[in-house]
């Protein structure tokens, strides 16, 4: 597992292990999509410290949820070196066919409303700020829906504290 120097220097990075696998947490990459704790609160509980409890579920369950993290703020690897190499090889083989798909510009941007959370944007898009200037050209971000973010228009995870709900 290669980690760039800038990533190593990032504050708040944490690694968690249950002996079998290690889950890497890179908070700078998180867009608060909330997938992890909605699907596996027994392991990923932002109200607890440490917020990751590797004993909360089986290795298979943890892998399944970490693989759903849209930003790779959460990643995992097998601790056993042989197993890790084998898995990485498999992953490359599986992901190759998808790369030959239609050009990226043609793909519609995925806009996903996260339950009681932000708007997740995935694809090639532009964001024009309230002052008419372009904010960022990105491939993934999340926009605040609760009205309380201090990094508006982006989500900063504040919706949890304010108990924002879709049905209210």
């Amino acid at each position: 597992m290669q980690v760039s120097i800038s990533e190593q220097m990032e504050k708040g990075n944490r690694d968690y292990t249950n002996g079998e696998i290690t889950v890497e947490w890179r908070p700078a990459k998180c867009v608060h999509a909330t997938t992890c704790y909605r699907e596996l609160i027994e392991v990923f509980n932002p109200r607890k410290r440490p917020w990751v409890n590797m004993k909360g579920a089986s290795t298979d369950e943890i892998i399944k949820v970490v693989d759903k993290c849209p930003t790779q703020a959460l990643r995992w690897y097998w601790n056993d070196e042989k197993k890790r190499e084998e898995y990485e090889k498999q992953k490359v083989q599986q992901s190759r066919p998808e790369l030959a798909n239609e050009p990226i510009d043609e793909k519609p941007v995925k806009v996903t409303i996260m339950k009681d959370g932000p708007i997740l944007l995935q694809g090639k898009f532009r964001i024009i700020g309230a002052d008419g200037n372009e904010l960022k050209t990105l491939s993934m971000t999340s926009l605040c829906r609760c009205g309380h973010s201090s990094t508006n228009p982006f989500c900063d995870g504040t919706h949890r504290r304010h108990g924002f709900r879709d049905d209210l």
């Binding site: 941007v109 806009v111 996903t112 964001i127 700020g129 002052d131 829906r145 228009p153 049905d167």
Partner: protein, 61 residues
């Protein structure tokens, strides 16, 4: 560029271009290419869409 997101001052976000919108229940919400305004103030009674509530709740952002 397939979609553009325009932040409307003290209001919603307007989405134009090519996009697929999925609701919090995983269901598809709009067809490709439609223009939508999504609530940013948290006050809409028609979430995730804007219903103009930001004008009455004093949303700034």
């Amino acid at each position: 560029m397939s979609a553009e997101f325009t932040i409307i001052k003290n209001g919603p976000v307007k989405i134009t271009g090519k996009f697929v919108l999925t609701g919090s229940d995983g269901k598809h919400l709009s067809v490709e290419g439609e223009e939508v305004h999504l609530c940013r103030c948290g006050g809409s009674k028609n979430k995730p869409f804007c219903d103009g509530s930001h004008q009455s709740n004093g949303f700034k952002g």
